[in-house]
Symmetry: C2
């Protein structure tokens, strides 16, 4: 039985990238490696759709989230944090750890924040120094309208907009410069089709001005160090060499396919998945679902843990379950990164068979029929 | 778009085998390599279900077919060749090339030979020295009842039974000793889940007695040389080292799964495929289909070449078309070797979508529904 990964990170890594990373390791203080870094830096700007430098850290995405907080805030400053899931809550925890004053904007898990609410709070509360928002909340599959929020925050000259685009960059549209996003964070193990271990930050000029003045303790995550080194295509600390070699290949595959085509592919795969699960009589969790992953409510009478266990053990299919308050209540089918039409078919068919074995009543094949219709017609 | 191979050789190679073969090459005249050879020889006996030695050639399957002919026949001797497809015809061509007198037993492509017909000819014609039969005729997907034919040929003390089990060994039952099969031939790129480049011959005592006396020119394919070397876990000529290293891994995977379980898996995948294509209103070519591959008639009004081209270019799915007189008239879905349930689902779904695009009328999803029913219930 083959193993098929449908988790929202790590995601499947293309064979071409695995082969690149299996090549003998090279040293990072060489012209050979600086050439790779130069190429990677250029292609990251393409991916993030920005003219600003995109910094590369050897850390998980959480490291980059911490770097954003500790580099733009100072102790006691106000941060508006949209909390609509596990990763919104993580931003709040990091801000609190550094002594920032968190103003929470609680959103029901599964719902998207209303941009006008952000505007209202920014107007009422004085001196909010940064707004922290998750583009695709991985725990719920919800997409946030960061384009609208970007327009709002841009009106506040002393407020930065920080976007966690970890499970969304390269899967859904995220136009850093055009949408006035000040800090955009991502990670390697999502739509970038790499193993975990790298994180990225695109940083606007408005954010750099703040970073110059901010006063919080930091060393490994001191972004000024990374910025300075990056101008010489270098790193302040030992970079994750094999992952960066893989990143070069990943970004060249992304340029080859083209970011618009990649986003279109994710749109179609997500639409096929959503249509299929609805055809099976299942309900989506997210009011406004992102195209990165589909969070599905476990139907009544079915044990969610048993369902994901059966999918894994009998069909080799790895779906993520729910986290924290959603544990056992949802399962999540990821389709971000290295996925194609027949991957979606495999996921839906395994789901049909496992549900059928657990006694859920539905017309066998109806999910696939619905998915095929979307894949054939497009959207 | 990912590439998915559903051709009856080469077949997909498991990642674990690819990784084994990617290790640094070792020399073949070393104790290290002889240890590998010893393990491989033991496990080949398990796979072929024989106590006789199984010889390994660096050649495609056709090389082993030629070795069988040139080692057991002498010029002018009679050979009964069952010709029910391209590979039966190949046996006849090889026999003719070596000056044997071919007695053809022509079988309509798609039909299986009747064992009693073999008995009738063996009784009528005197001095038939060997019967050449294909277990699974790859060009038509037909399975031959070699167990019945083995019982018949065993009654003729001076007649050998030679089986081309290239696209069947390790996918369908083939019990070399128990069924009195004198020479059983196979190749690496089928159910053995390896790249092409190796072929195998299991040879009975009855066949060895003939080989001692046979008089046909041969050098590279002189099986006595291979037999003698094999006793020292060695080879007369340079073996295909990396493929044999891969073979060790392949055979250890086969032992781990167990030959009975492997045959059962192929039975279920084949049944699911056949049931699915019939549910789509399509017709099978083979009267008695083998579990290695499913040959399907191209429905009226559909261009067979266009169908396989579209599957390949739009869905990344590689089906084989028809060969020779069946060109454009059938397509073949292989499911031998490294295949699981969701591979079959992918193949059927791609077929549904491509057929739909070409205007074939059927209920979308009905093939998958039928396949899922078989995969869920078993057979």
């Amino acid at each position: 039985m083959k193993k098929r990964l449908f988790t929202p990170g790590p995601t499947p890594v293309p064979e071409d990238i695995l082969l690149e990373m299996a090549k003998p390791i090279i040293h990072h203080r060489t012209s050979e490696f600086r050439k790779i870094t130069e190429e990677v830096q250029g292609n990251l700007k393409y991916l993030f759709q920005t003219k600003s430098p995109v910094l590369i850290l050897a850390s998980s995405g959480t490291g980059a989230m911490e770097a954003a907080v500790s580099n733009i805030l100072s102790s006691g400053e106000k941060a508006l944090v949209v909390k609509g899931g596990k990763f919104g809550e993580r931003f709040a925890e990091i801000c609190s750890s550094y002594g920032a004053r968190v103003i929470p904007l609680d959103v029901e898990w599964g719902k998207a924040v209303k941009p006008e609410l952000v505007e209202k709070i920014l107007t009422q509360e004085k001196d909010i120094k940064a707004v922290f928002i998750t583009l695709c909340e991985t725990s719920t599959g919800v997409l946030t309208d960061i384009q609208a929020i970007g327009r709002i925050v841009a009106k506040f000259s002393d407020t930065l907009l920080v976007i966690d685009a970890i499970s969304s960059l390269g899967a859904v549209s995220c136009q850093t410069d055009a949408w006035n996003l000040d800090v955009v964070i991502s990670g390697s193990q999502k739509a970038l089709m790499l193993p975990p271990g790298l994180s990225f930050l695109a940083i606007s000029e408005k954010a750099w001005r703040r970073i110059e003045k901010s006063q919080l303790p930091r060393y490994y995550f001191d972004l000024k160090k990374y910025h300075k080194s990056s101008e010489k295509f270098d790193f302040p600390f030992t970079p994750a060499v094999s992952l960066i070699v893989g990143l070069r290949k990943s970004l060249s595959l992304i340029r080859e396919e083209g970011i618009e085509n990649i986003i279109k592919r994710h749109e179609i795969l997500a639409a096929a998945t959503r249509t299929a699960v609805k055809a099976l009589g299942l309900e989506l969790l997210a009011e406004k679902p992102a195209d990165s992953l589909t969070a599905v409510k476990v139907p009544e009478g079915i044990d969610g843990a048993e369902l994901t266990k059966r999918l894994k053990e009998k069909y080799g299919v790895n779906f993520a379950g729910g986290q924290e308050k959603l544990k056992g209540k949802i399962f999540r089918i990821a389709h971000l990164g290295y996925f194609d039409k027949l991957d979606i078919i495999s996921a839906i068919s395994a789901l049909e068979m496992a549900l059928s074995e657990l006694g859920y009543k539905f017309e066998l094949g109806s999910g696939i029929k619905a998915a095929e219709e979307v894949l054939l017609k497009g959207i």
